[in-house]
Symmetry: C2
Subunit: 450 residues, 2 copies
């Protein structure tokens, strides 16, 4: 597969839909991977989506597609289906995926569906629904292989063929004691390599990483990434094994968290809005711009306070953009570096003072460089030494303070357990706009002697 | 493991280093995971790093640590070691990791080391060094299980115990024809479940995803993520199986690419600079601020052109920050959404016009809302209808154009194969500063009738 197949697939699907070539469509729909179908669905009308969905012959395939669809599309499509259809599809799905989907529905609808689902199945699903969405418990799957330590390699292989046939990720064999508590781990590979009669306790690893159900999903993901493992076992408060978090979910977590961080820093909500309608997108973005609006209005009043200076030296206005721009940009650099450093674990909250000091130093050096450059431009344009000095000093102070504020704010937020990404973008930009303008006019008034 | 152990580990290591408690240190160093040790190394002096490194008893452990260390630290540490030591360590490492490490060294040093390494080992390493760093070939490992299609399940198990004992990721068994061309895939799990005498061709899957050696690593990662697989086979132009890319590398790629995108958008280089020295960090960030500086200077000259208006209506200066701020912020929202959408595959270059149209619509709506708000503030502060109208219209035009430019620039860059993240941050901000100021003063001059 050398090309992204989505585009070709979408084009031919649309053509066939227009032509009403149902036989062809049915063939395509049933042999396409659900991940690719979900991309096609994004560009189709609801009625076309429903039409294609009905062409899927395998209930299990419909379930996989459910999991792959984006939330909005899934919710709309669900409205088109009967309760019986929905339940029949959900019953083919792994309980963790069902719990995920039900979590997206209104409480009432989720309850109705749960009640309709077979007793045993829904029991597992209900267990999973108890955990917070973003914790190890919320993302774990309850399908794992748990064996006792006196089980031999050949007995283990036998139970793989019978009892654990449906386990999704059979790469690790967890070893538990009589209370279900996790005591060790072995791998499918070791099973194949040791003599058949060796009991697990002789070749299992007792040094096993595990996480508790309430651990934040991002922390879980970091552990899986750090130790290059394919799955991490999840235990409850009593160390009883209750599930595993697998590496494919870890990839999804990292991608989702990165997207959230990027969007939050830009003050664009946290969910990806581009696939939503114009009005929804507007509503999500509106409040984040308010910080910037408020900052601008405060800057307006600050400048008003210096009306005297501005009246005498009207050319001061011309330097507002460059001073604001330099402060804003270095502030964004600093806060972005800190937010990403915290997210990837390269910086920790304990480093706060060394990080802030370093940023301040960088801010001073860069401030000096650009202060001299822009000061020179001012001198060249107006031939007024004091103006050039004012502009140069303002750039230096604005950039140094921006680097300080830009690194301090996210660090401080992280320390009081507020997501630094949320706080950073709009706050740092707004704070910097206000501070830059204030320092500029204060320096100007002092130096130009009003 | 409920806590990030790095902090505790670092503190006790530092204490023991001060006390010179070598026996204790040796114990800690030899039982700590290399991933955790690498974090500790970040906060130690080079001589302390070297001291701890020498305490590692196992050459293989030293090799794992090599791979985990950050580039700068690794390069400094390497200077402390003799050529013989280095070669002895590298010989214990998988060839793909050796190729990675050698890729970081100056050509001459890498060649000296390669020559010293055992013939067979370095041959594999040299093969890997041929591929570009960021391609499937550059990140693949040459350790995989390749069997012929008439091999039976029990024969396959046997070869796992002998020939393929050292394979890192033995979860997929690739099936190749007499020329080494990829024809199918099976899994360790299937091997255990089928009757021992079944030949591979009877239970292998022939529908196998593969990628070519020159595919961009980000594309490879997307395929692994999309289809939830643990490894993807890499083939050369003739479909001969030459390596696999494993899921743990995919995680690293996604995290690295996300970090690069975030930093590029903030105009802060692309490598994480916070662990580098102040001077290095300054040098990387300096050029990115130049765009903003240039934009500010252009804005300065634009405002100068309107000196007449500004002289008459000096209060116009007070609204510069809010108009620039609103334009800049919505522009950042738009460009961030587009850049992230392209990176995650939710948007494709083909969507350019629908995306730009949507952003323009959002920009108009938000512009109206904030234009009225800020216009009202202007009216309230100065009681001049025409000024309020000027400010309102400027906010609307500035925000609408910012949304347009903010979405168009990254889309256009992506289309001509320039990384939209590089182009976006500094370019969009700078373009918006200039446009906002220009439109504001043009509208003011027209409306206030000079």
């Amino acid at each position: 597969m050398q090309q992204d197949p989505s585009k070709i697939l979408l084009d031919s699907t649309k053509r066939l839909l227009r032509r009403g070539a149902n036989r062809h469509l049915k063939k395509i729909v049933n042999k396409t991977h659900a991940a690719d179908l979900s991309v096609v669905f994004r560009s189709l009308s609801l009625s076309d989506q429903h039409r294609l969905f009905n062409m899927l012959e395998d209930l299990e395939q419909k379930g996989v597609l459910f999991s792959e669809l984006e939330e909005d599309i899934f919710l709309d499509l669900l409205e088109e289906l009967t309760l019986e259809e929905i339940v029949a599809i959900l019953e083919t799905m792994p309980p963790d995926d069902v719990a995920d989907l039900l979590g997206r529905l209104p409480q009432e609808k989720a309850d109705t569906i749960l009640k309709k689902m077979k007793k045993e199945g829904s029991h597992e699903v209900e267990d999973l629904l108890r955990y917070e969405d973003d914790t190890a418990g919320g993302i774990m799957i309850p399908d794992f292989i748990a064996l006792r330590e006196d089980t031999t390699a050949s007995e283990a292989v036998e139970s793989l063929q019978k009892e654990y046939q449906d386990v999704e990720m059979p790469f690790y064999l967890y070893v538990v004691d009589e209370y279900g508590k996790l005591v060790g781990v072995s791998s499918l590979r070791q099973l194949v390599v040791v003599p058949p009669h060796t009991p697990l306790k002789e070749f299992m690893t007792t040094d096993v990483f595990s996480v508790q159900t309430d651990m934040d999903q991002e922390e879980v993901a970091k552990i899986v990434a750090r130790y290059d493992i394919l799955a991490v076992p999840v235990v409850d408060e009593t160390n009883r094994l209750v599930g595993i978090v697998t590496v494919d979910d870890v990839i999804d977590i990292f991608r989702k968290e990165a997207t959230e961080d990027i969007l939050r820093m830009a003050g664009a909500g946290e969910e990806f809005v581009e696939t939503k309608s114009i009005l929804k997108s507007t509503r999500i973005r509106l409040p984040w711009l308010f910080a910037s609006c408020l900052g601008g209005i405060i800057a307006l009043y600050i400048i008003n306070q210096f009306e005297g200076s501005l009246n005498k030296f009207v050319y001061l206005a011309a330097f507002i953009p460059v001073i604001m721009g330099m402060g804003g940009n270095i502030g964004t650099q600093s806060s972005t570096i800190v937010v990403r450093g915290l997210a990837t674990g390269r910086l920790s909250i304990g480093d706060i003072w060394s990080v802030v000091f370093k940023e301040l130093s960088v801010g001073c050096i860069l401030g000096l460089v650009y202060g001299m450059l822009i000061g020179t431009v001012a001198q060249f344009s107006y031939s007024k030494e004091l103006l050039a000095l004012t502009v140069g000093l303002s750039v230096i102070s604005s950039m140094a303070i921006a680097a300080l504020v830009g690194s301090l704010i996210p660090m401080a937020f992280a320390r009081i357990h507020i997501d630094p990404a949320v706080a950073t973008g709009p706050f740092v930009t707004t704070a910097m706009d206000i501070l830059s303008v204030f320092f500029y006019f204060t320096i100007a008034t002092a130096l130009l002697g009003i």
